[in-house]
């Protein structure tokens, strides 16, 4: 009983914080916090599935989030016909050959255990792959490099891109899980950390696929465009009738639109996660987490179950990543940083309460709120602290300049405090 009161109280607190932000600092900021809070909550739901329920130590969240973002580009950007004509077939053939090489290598090793044969297949396959790939990729990147220089996408509606994001992340998770899930926890952690860095490296360098560091901007939006709204007489009239300026009204309208869509996704996933957690499947996963050996002795296929939950959790992170890229309207591979997209999500799960879906969602909102507010309120706070120092003091200037780095420090302190004094999080698993 007290647990449910606690849940209501903490969620009410989050609502109060966001509404308070709206009243004191403007609704624009409140909606920014709310929208990314919804995305963060979905990400931490995914991590909670892996860590809280199955005990898998995945610190490659950033990789899956980025794959989701890439999926939006691949699914929803209009195809660049010229680039497809120039080298599309070659690039696709190269991808197929590369995949075939890896499959053949793995099969050769499993069937023959002959390391020379395996190495020969791998090397020959790699050479053929590069011979097919390089001219095709050069041709694609030569097509209007300043404007496109990549293959583009399939031109599908952007919401389908979210599903593609989930599928892409799930596919990557399947490959990773097959190789790395047998490792013990901290090896798995290093392995996933490495994979996420590799995914980012691929997105930065394979320009023919994602435009690399040239970024993809102007992604299609699932909500109306601000300019269109401002030119729509009906909308301007309605805005005027509630006493709002059309420009401000249009940005609010768009943000609310995103908020509703994201909330729908979060609610669907949360309901599914709760059903899963309370089903026999959820009990089995927790049994595996708590004692792998005894679960195995009871006839549970631990390896398969780990793979399954790893794929599910990663797919959720992929969906969230796709939603985030849609919200930003652009894909910037250099903006993916492990502290922000992997470890911050971990802070959300641990602070919220690992093993409890509602806890993970709460952590997502709360930590995201603090992450934004430390940056927004930090300078004012620092000005207040340094008020006693003379204006020309070098220390004061330095403190004010580096206030942006305060939030990493704050997150670390919050994580350590929660781990020390409430190690099971704000909403513990029952």
């Amino acid at each position: 009983m007290s647990q449910s009161i606690r849940t209501y109280a903490l969620f009410a607190l989050v609502a109060l914080l966001i509404i308070g932000t709206g009243l004191l600092q403007g609704w624009d900021l409140a909606l920014v916090i709310l929208n990314m809070g919804l995305v963060s909550a979905i990400m931490s739901l995914g991590v909670n599935l892996q860590w809280g329920i199955a005990g898998l130590f995945n610190v490659g969240v950033m990789g899956f989030v980025a794959l989701g973002g890439m999926a939006v580009v691949l699914a929803s950007v209009d195809p660049v016909e010229e680039a497809w004509a120039a080298g599309g077939a070659r690039a696709i053939l190269a991808l197929v050959l590369g995949a075939a090489t890896i499959v053949a290598t793995v099969l050769a090793w499993k069937k023959t255990k002959n390391r020379w044969l395996t190495a020969a297949i791998l090397i020959a396959g790699f050479v053929v792959y590069r011979m097919v790939r390089d001219p095709g990729v050069d041709a694609i990147e030569a097509v209007n490099p300043a404007g496109t220089g990549f293959l583009g996408g399939l031109g599908l509606p952007v919401v389908i891109g979210w599903m593609v994001g989930g599928l892409l992340a799930a596919g990557a998770a399947w490959i990773i899980g097959k190789t790395a899930l047998g490792l013990r926890s901290d090896y798995l952690a290093i392995a996933t950390l490495g994979i996420s860095e590799i995914i980012i490296a691929i997105m930065k360098n394979e320009e023919w696929l994602t435009r690399g560091v040239k970024n993809v901007t102007g992604l299609p939006r699932p909500v109306p465009d601000a300019i269109d709204l401002q030119n729509d007489p009906g909308f301007v009239e309605r805005a005027a009738s509630i006493g709002m300026d059309p420009t401000a009204a249009s940005t609010l309208y768009i943000k609310i639109g995103y908020g509703l869509m994201f909330a729908a996704v979060l609610i669907i996933l949360l309901v599914l996660a709760q059903l899963a957690l309370n089903s026999p499947w959820g009990r089995m996963m927790r049994a595996i987490r708590d004692n792998e050996t005894s679960a195995r002795a009871m006839g549970k296929d631990v390896t398969f179950r780990h793979l399954q939950v790893f794929i599910l959790g990663s797919a959720i992170c992929g969906i969230a990543g796709a939603m985030m890229t849609t919200l930003d309207g652009q894909l910037i591979p250099t903006s993916y940083q492990p502290l922000r997209y992997t470890f911050l999500i971990w802070v959300m799960v641990i602070v919220g309460g690992s093993g409890n879906n509602l806890g993970a969602v709460l952590g997502g909102f709360l930590i995201w709120f603090l992450w934004v507010q430390v940056e927004v309120l930090g300078p004012g706070f620092m000005t207040w602290i340094t008020g006693a120092l003379p204006d020309d003091s070098g220390l004061k200037e330095h403190l004010l300049d580096s206030v942006q780095h305060m939030r990493l420090l704050t997150m670390g302190v919050i994580l350590l405090l929660v781990l020390r004094f409430s190690p099971r999080g704000l909403l513990p698993e029952r």
Binding site: F57, E197, L339, F343, S402, M411, V413, L415, L416, L419
Partner: protein, 336 residues
């Protein structure tokens, strides 16, 4: 002549840089391995501890430079290293006292320590950026080269030049000295032996009256020294940026795991395995091959297996292959 040219080109672009990089990784991996052996967890804050230590060294270097103190041809940073070690040691000891000791008392699971170290990582990261900022810093001074490529060409009459940077020579020499000291300490002194005993069998070591808190403290001190030296050498050789140091976590861990976690010898071997593979796989071999191959077979492309940006992929792939085929690493490490 062509053969000599090929060897010189190979040394200049592969062997010497990889030796320097390997030494830096080895020092970093020794720290990871010691923490794993004694405290029994993978320290995610390692890269950021390195960034912090190097930051202290940089601040002292600037101070000395402003006083006009220098070491002539050698970088002033060498003089600042002891102060950097002291600063880092203070930081890690305070962290251990305030944070890790509580969980040792609770006999928490290793994975709890790992999560705690993620919190510590955030704090160190924030601290470093707060004090010095997130930008690139240059603090190398003194003579730039031991042998200049142009001088080498004039001296030997070869087409290819061989340049050895002061920092590269310094890195290898310092690493050899530090590693020799470490092994002498671990194998010859009483404290070192008690550390190894504690790492091999905790219960037995406690029964023989070894003070665990002392062992832990000495471990942190050694780690602080190793990592400050490693970070300073890396910063002198390449450049200092907190984020780069955070990313070094991956090759450092890969080195320690490839060599076998918990084995100091393995950490050194692992460091060089990773460094040489990283450099060799991302190097464009055309130059070397042009000298070695008969004219008809000369390669047309760069013969670069992978773009330089994929160097993380290299350390990662070696890591996965080693883990799949030899789970305890090249030298028998622990598997807790």
């Amino acid at each position: 002549m062509d053969f000599l040219n090929a060897i010189v080109a190979l040394s200049n672009f592969v062997i010497i840089p990889a030796m320097a990089y390997g030494s830096q990784l080895a020092l970093g991996a020794l720290g990871v391995t010691l923490i794993y052996g004694i405290l029994r967890f993978s320290n995610f804050a390692h890269g950021d501890t390195m960034a912090f230590g190097t930051m202290v060294v940089i601040l002292f270097t600037w101070l000395f430079q402003s006083w006009g103190i220098s070491l002539g041809p050698l970088p002033t940073a060498l003089l600042a290293i002891p102060f950097g070690i002291a600063g880092t040691a203070a930081l890690v000891l305070i962290t251990d006292r305030g944070i890790y000791r509580f969980y040792r008392g609770q006999k928490a699971k290793p994975v709890v320590f790992v999560i705690v170290s993620i919190g510590v990582m955030f704090i160190y990261n924030g601290l470093t950026r707060f004090i010095l900022g997130a930008d690139d810093q240059r603090f190398a001074d003194g003579e730039r080269f031991i042998i200049n490529a142009r001088e080498f060409k004039e001296m030997t009459g070869l087409e290819e030049g061989l340049g050895i940077k002061t920092t590269q020579g310094l890195t290898v020499v310092t690493a050899v000295i530090v590693v020799a000291l470490l092994f002498w300490f671990l194998n010859r002194t009483r404290t070192g032996k008690s550390m190894r005993a504690y790492s091999d069998n905790e219960d037995l070591a406690l029964l023989s009256g070894i003070n665990p808190e002392r062992v832990v403290m000495v471990t942190w001190l050694i780690v602080a020294a190793l990592i400050t030296v490693a970070g300073t050498l890396y910063g002198l050789d390449k450049s200092y940026k907190p984020f780069t140091y955070f990313q070094l976590l991956l090759p450092i861990f890969a080195s320690a795991i490839v060599g076998g976690l918990g084995s100091p010898l393995g950490a050194i071997a692992g460091g060089f395995v990773i460094a040489f593979s990283e450099v060799a796989i991302t190097y464009a071999w055309k130059k070397v091959l042009v000298y070695l191959m008969p004219e008809a077979l000369e390669p047309s492309g760069l013969v670069q297996l992978m773009a330089t940006e994929y160097k993380f992929a290299v350390s990662f792939m070696i890591l996965v292959v080693v883990l799949l085929f030899k789970p305890t690493g090249l030298f028998k490490g622990k598997s807790v």
